[in-house]
């Protein structure tokens, strides 16, 4: 019964995507081309990676507002390494970026668990702290194009042949890995359990503190990965711009994807669809000639609509649950 409801939720998002694309396609037939599809695909890898991590955090009934700053700091440290030690193989940059993100995420997790603090405030604080550190380590200067290894930038090339850029492959791999982790491992199921009933969780033998630190660590590590992906996609790292506003886009995509802010509910396919919808909207707005000034209003409206849908589904789910319980 619940399963079919969840499936209905993802179907809802899929429907929204289809309707939106058809609507835009009617006004701009160019929107429905393979070319456009590839453009949308290139827009979303960073958000996809961030959304996978944030999804786990929100399912665990927390939130991580610092992922934008983690992306910035990880990207900056990696880029600084590229600039001042070009002799190190560029692949090592991945280790650095993910490692830095992991470390910063663990700090978040420890602060939340050790002092029993609300994650929203802790990550608000670390958002400022990490952003400030990014400025300090870079001396407020951006790392220019010539210092980012060409091989790294090539991973995001949108080639005229039909080869898929590596950056998209990585994003999809992360999504698949998250799906496997969330659904097929014990720890993954424990995250769902923790989120839906935090009081019962320790009674069921779940080591709540360890799992909490783990979700923040994963979120941080993925944010770090998105940092080096930023360098790959845009070719430079800037202490003011890299990652600013990222957390907001990611949370929007996750909420649209059906993850409930109250925890315990959410699926990878849903979030993937949510990210994709955000990408479609981002790509469609300039195509439709909607001025930048109105785009923010549209994002706000999309979030509110997604919330209303979430609410009505939850109400029906609750009704179904209570009637099911009543029948037992």
């Amino acid at each position: 019964m619940i399963g079919s409801l969840l499936r209905r939720r993802e179907a809802g998002i899929l429907l929204m995507i289809v309707l939106f694309c058809v609507f835009v396609g009617i006004m701009r037939p160019r929107f429905l081309t393979l070319d456009q599809f590839r453009i949308i695909l290139l827009l979303i890898p960073l958000i996809m990676i961030g959304a996978m991590g944030q999804m786990l955090v929100i399912i665990a009934r927390h939130v991580d507002l610092s992922i934008g700053s983690i992306q910035g700091l990880a990207a900056m440290l990696t880029a600084l390494m590229f600039k001042f030690h070009p002799e190190i193989p560029w692949g090592f940059g991945f280790v650095v970026a993910i490692g830095v993100g992991l470390g910063l995420g663990v700090i978040n997790g420890v602060l939340v668990t050790a002092f029993n603090l609300p994650a929203i405030i802790v990550t608000l604080g670390t958002l400022s702290l990490y952003r400030g550190l990014t400025f300090i380590v870079s001396n407020a200067k951006q790392i220019d194009r010539q210092f980012v290894p060409a091989a790294l930038k090539a991973m995001s090339q949108d080639s005229p042949t039909y080869a898929v850029p590596w950056i998209i492959v990585i994003a999809l791999a992360v999504a698949v890995a998250t799906y496997w982790f969330a659904n097929r491992t014990l720890v993954g199921r424990q995250i769902y359990a923790m989120g839906s009933n935090p009081i019962a969780a320790p009674l069921r033998g779940i080591r709540v503190n360890a799992v909490t630190i783990l979700v923040f660590a994963i979120s941080g590590a993925l944010a770090g990965l998105s940092g080096i992906m930023y360098a790959s996609r845009w070719g430079f790292v800037n202490p003011s711009n890299t990652g600013t506003g990222f957390e907001f886009q990611v949370i929007a995509a996750v909420v649209i994807g059906g993850v409930s802010i109250n925890g315990g509910v959410g699926s990878v396919p849903g979030v993937v669809l949510g990210v994709f919808l955000m990408g479609c909207v981002s790509a469609a707005l300039p195509l439709l000639g909607i001025p930048g000034t109105s785009q923010a209003a549209i994002y706000g409206a999309v979030i509110v609509i997604a919330l209303l849908i979430d609410r009505s589904v939850r109400m029906r789910a609750n009704a179904a649950l209570s009637s099911a319980r009543g029948r037992e």
Partner: protein, 336 residues
């Protein structure tokens, strides 16, 4: 554990033995989150003086406070909302939108009372939208207000475009007006703080706000009309936002859609630093008042010393985490 069987006799003696002794008065007055804020404020003033010889000028500090007076005003009303167990991240955007409408109306040379009506009315409507979604439809306030903050900001962009809307000369310069030796915005802030502190601390209604935040279900059963209280609070936030917007315009002489961009974080920061508990039920106006002063002193002190904004960000981040650790610690210790 079971040295005394729970019989009728032992019930009386058990309550006598288990009742916690009342806390000494000095603890009640001094060991609270607001004290930490006050100590930090004193430290910040001291540090500011050390960092730059130009800082310790009371006129300068008061004038600098006008730069954040509007957001501080919003932080005060936000404190009440948070104590009641909700949160509102939209006031900064609501301020921008109602300010744009207000300035737009003035640019048509409409009579002042109509402009004010439009300004405050729009604030009221925006508060009502929040209230309808959060209380009427039972949606989580944090996401709703993230949504409405984007929406209002976007609407402000649609109305004002990327231009700034100027206002007539006579309206400009409220921060130059000095009443009782203080710049007018500072005075407005102080009066609002006193009024809200009175409402929160001395009236039944204020007590009910605390109770709603501590345990809404219990409050409802106790006959408190929580839905009405929360609705009033959201409406009040909307109105305060429009008033803050009008002050802002007077200070700047014009308004753009990006008025107060990012202000939502600052307001929440002020409330948190003031010892307001994010989950509701605890907090004081005094705390937020001191925290607003603290933030103003910190940013003024650092700017006067020509420190990088980066350093300011780090300090603010660390402060936030430290203050919330301390607040939690103090609250858990004083929990009976």
């Amino acid at each position: 554990m079971s040295d005394a069987p729970l019989g009728i006799n032992s019930t009386v003696s058990a309550s006598h033995r288990d009742a916690a002794p009342p806390r000494p008065l000095w603890q009640v007055i001094f060991v609270r989150p607001e004290t930490l804020t006050f100590v930090l404020l004193v430290l910040a003033i001291f540090a500011g003086g050390q960092l730059s010889p130009y800082f310790l000028d009371i006129r300068y500090i008061l004038d600098s406070f006008t730069l954040t007076a509007e957001l501080s005003l919003l932080a005060l009303i936000l404190t009440l909302v948070i104590i009641a167990g909700e949160i509102d991240l939209s006031p900064a955007s609501a301020m921008a939108l109602s300010a744009c409408l207000f300035a737009y109306a003035m640019s048509f040379d409409w009579p002042m009372w109509i402009c004010v009506f439009i300004g405050i009315g729009s604030g009221l409507i925006m508060g009502a939208i929040n209230a309808a979604l959060i209380i009427g439809l039972q949606l989580p306030s944090i996401i709703v207000t993230i949504g409405t903050l984007t929406l209002y900001r976007g609407l402000a962009q649609v109305i004002a475009g990327d231009k700034s809307i100027r206002v007539p000369e006579w309206y400009i310069g409220i921060d130059k007006v000095q009443i009782l030796g203080l710049p007018a915005p500072d005075l407005i802030f102080i009066i609002a703080a006193i009024a809200l502190a009175f409402v929160l601390g001395m009236t039944v209604w204020g007590r009910q706000i605390y109770q709603t935040g501590t345990n809404e279900t219990a409050a409802i059963y106790a006959g408190i009309r929580t839905r009405r209280i929360k609705t009033v609070l959201f409406l009040a936030t909307g109105v305060t936002a429009s008033i803050a917007g009008m002050i802002f315009i007077s200070r700047l002489g014009s308004v753009r859609y990006d008025l107060g961009l990012g202000g939502e974080l600052q307001m929440v920061l002020m409330a948190m630093l003031g010892g307001t508990y994010i989950f509701g039920g605890r907090g004081t106006i005094l705390g937020t008042f001191l925290a607003a002063l603290l933030l103003s002193v910190i940013s003024t002190g650092m700017t006067t010393a020509n420190l990088l904004p980066a350093t300011q960000l780090c300090v603010l981040g660390v402060l936030l985490v430290l203050s919330i650790i301390a607040t939690n610690f103090i609250y858990s210790r004083t929990q009976r």
